[in-house]
Each structure stands twice: as structure tokens, then as C-alpha cells.
């Protein structure tokens, strides 16, 4: 039952991130804005490229020589995508702020370390189960991702709280206000997807034995897919509901 839920959640995560990311990349092609490209690339890369590659490489169905390169390619795509989360957060929420640049640089350095040290570890692995072992330094990429999603989620929440005040004065679009909140939630859900595996891995445990953690990961994956879809590709009914709700409160 839990395996089926995890599978469905994985499919939803890949589909929603891939479709929304592709749509934002098309938008970036029209607007010629680097920020639009970064968010589109990051979503598409993480959902439709990195995650499937890491799953494929780590499943144990491939010969080890091929599996390690698939896994390393996935880890590289993950590092690039999560670096995109840091860059997007600085550019949009904290442009020109020194501490934010420093935090992003630290996060990207951690990603680079996790990838390089992880790739060296993977090249010496004798079977695919080693890729997800707690000894693999690629776990530091997950640590950096937790930082990235936690930070961007908090920034989204801060902007939501400010935009809600502007909405009360008629100075904000209810859909944009709602999009900030969905961004904050998507950061929280992505963090919940990653944190259990990181924490359990660091403590030397095995995620496969933790039913609660796997259930939380599955639910958070679904929730991330829904939040991302509603934020950047909302159905007309949802748009009407958000705009109507704002009109009633006004």
C-alpha cells in the first residue's frame, strides 16, 4: 500500500514539476527574463531529469558500470537544480543583500562538495545500494537542498504576509498574494520530501525501514505537486475561487 502511494507520489511529482517547469521555460523564451528561466529550468530539471535519473541509477536494475554514471548524472542535475533554488531566492527576494549572497554561496559550495565527493564515492561503489548509503557524501547535497527550500519557503511566507497587507489596501493582485503562499508551501513540502532521508541517513539508519518517514515523503510529494500546479498553472476555477475570495474579504 505504502509502495503504491510512494509510486503515485513520485509520478505526480515528476509530472507536475515537468509540466510546470516546461511552461515556465516557454514563458522565459517570450519574456527573455533570466529569473523566469531559472525557476522554469530548476523545476523541470529537478522533477523531469534529476529525480528520474537518480531513481533509475539507484534501483539496482542496471549493471553497476552503467548505474553509477546514471546516478552521477542524476546527482549533477540535482546539484544544478538546487543551485537554481538558491539563485532564484537571492535574485527575487534579496537582491543585492550581502548576507543572502553569502548564504547562497555557502549552499552552492555545499552542493558542489556533495556532488564531487559523492561522485568519487560512487565510482568506487561495488553495487547500487552504496549510492544511497549514509557513508555517501552526496548526502550533503540533500543538506544544502533542505537549506535552499527552507530559506525560499520563509521568503515566500514573508512576501505573502506583506502582500496580504497590500491586498487589504487594494494594492495587490489576490492571485499573486496566493502564489507567494503556494511558493512558501511548496518549499515546506519539498523540505519534508528530503529531510527524512537526510536525517535518517546521517544517523546511520535505513529509510526503507521507517514507515512514518516514507509516508511523510509520499504525502509531501503529492502536496508539492499540487502546490506547484496551483501556483504556476492554476485551473480557471481555482483562479476564480482565489479572486472571488479576495473580493468577498475586501
Amino acid at each position: 500500500m505504502l509502495d503504491a502511494l510512494l509510486l503515485l507520489s513520485t509520478v505526480a511529482f515528476i509530472a507536475a514539476g515537468g509540466v510546470v517547469g516546461w511552461r515556465l521555460l516557454r514563458l522565459a523564451q517570450r519574456t527573455r527574463q533570466l529569473t523566469d528561466f531559472i525557476v522554469g529550468f530548476m523545476l523541470f530539471d529537478l522533477s523531469a531529469v534529476a529525480y528520474p535519473l537518480v531513481l533509475w541509477g539507484g534501483l539496482g536494475n542496471l549493471p553497476i558500470e552503467r548505474a553509477r554514471w546514471v546516478y552521477i548524472a542524476g546527482a549533477f542535475a540535482m546539484a544544478i537544480g538546487w543551485a537554481g533554488v538558491f539563485v532564484f531566492t537571492v535574485r527575487v527576494f534579496r537582491p543585492g543583500v550581502a548576507w543572502a549572497r553569502g548564504l547562497a554561496a555557502f549552499g552552492i559550495a555545499l552542493l558542489a562538495y556533495g556532488f564531487v565527493a559523492g561522485a568519487r564515492f560512487d565510482l568506487q561503489a561495488s553495487d547500487a545500494s552504496a549510492f544511497t548509503s549514509p557513508q555517501n557524501p552526496v548526502f550533503w547535497q540533500q543538506g544544502a537542498a533542505i537549506l535552499a527550500y527552507g530559506w525560499t519557503g520563509l521568503e515566500g511566507l514573508r512576501c505573502f504576509l506583506q502582500a496580504r497587507k497590500r491586498l487589504a489596501l487594494g494594492l495587490a493582485d489576490p492571485l499573486v498574494v496566493n502564489r507567494f503562499l503556494l511558493w512558501a508551501w511548496s518549499g515546506v513540502f519539498a523540505l519534508i520530501c528530503i529531510a527524512p532521508s537526510f536525517v535518517i541517513g546521517l544517523s546511520g539508519g535505513d529509510l526503507l525501514r521507517h514507515t512514518g518517514a516514507r509516508f511523510a515523503t509520499a504525502v509531501a510529494g503529492f502536496a508539492f505537486a499540487i502546490a506547484t500546479q496551483l501556483a504556476f498553472l492554476p485551473p480557471a476555477a481555482y483562479r476564480r475561487w482565489v479572486s472571488g475570495g479576495a473580493a468577498v474579504s475586501a
Binding site: L27, T35, V39, L161, L171, R179
Partner: protein
């Protein structure tokens, strides 16, 4: 990033037309902006005008400024005639998230 022209304009008007000194005028306007979820570095003339009309009046009344409502109405009218400065029209989170919605 510097404060916008609209912010500086409103503060200058307050300083010139009330007993508030420069520091008090700017502090009062910043408090009103914070209540509105806005920032002095990105507030547009239209946003400043709304804040002046809807929030600054109360702040000035609390500070003992006489006929605050009429004063704010006049300042808001003038603020609306200003052009948006480059810093106000820069890529704010609002502008990015509006665009990303399609």
C-alpha cells in the same frame, strides 16, 4: 538600493508642511509603509498615494498634527502626479510572481 522618489517626495512635503523634522517625518512614513507591507525602496507613486490617504492620516493624527486628513489628501494628489522611478519599477517579488502566473 535608495529610497524611491515618491517616498522622498512625501517625506519632504511632511517636513515642509508640519512641525515634524526630517527624521520624524521619514520615520512616520516608514511606519505607515510597513503597515501596508511596502518598502521605501520600491514604493511607487500610486502606492505612496494610497498609503498617505489610508494610513498616514491616522499616524499624523496620533502625533498631534492638525487637519491631517486634508493635508494627506493634498499630498496624495500630488504624489499621484509623479512618474515611477527606475528603482520603483525594478524587478520586485510582486512583478516576478505576477509574470510567472502567465
Amino acid at each position: 538600493m535608495a529610497d524611491t522618489e515618491a517616498f522622498d517626495f512625501v517625506c519632504g512635503e511632511l517636513e515642509a508642511r508640519t512641525s515634524l523634522d526630517r527624521l520624524a517625518a521619514r520615520g512616520t512614513v516608514r511606519i505607515a509603509l510597513k503597515q501596508a507591507g511596502l518598502d521605501s525602496r520600491s514604493a511607487t507613486p500610486e502606492q505612496m498615494a494610497v498609503v498617505v490617504e489610508k494610513l498616514l492620516t491616522t499616524e499624523l493624527t496620533n502625533r498631534g498634527i492638525a487637519d491631517a486628513a486634508s493635508l494627506c489628501s493634498q499630498i496624495a494628489q500630488k504624489a499621484r502626479r509623479l512618474q515611477s522611478s527606475a528603482s520603483a519599477s525594478a524587478e520586485t517579488p510582486d512583478a516576478v510572481f505576477r509574470r510567472l502566473g502567465g
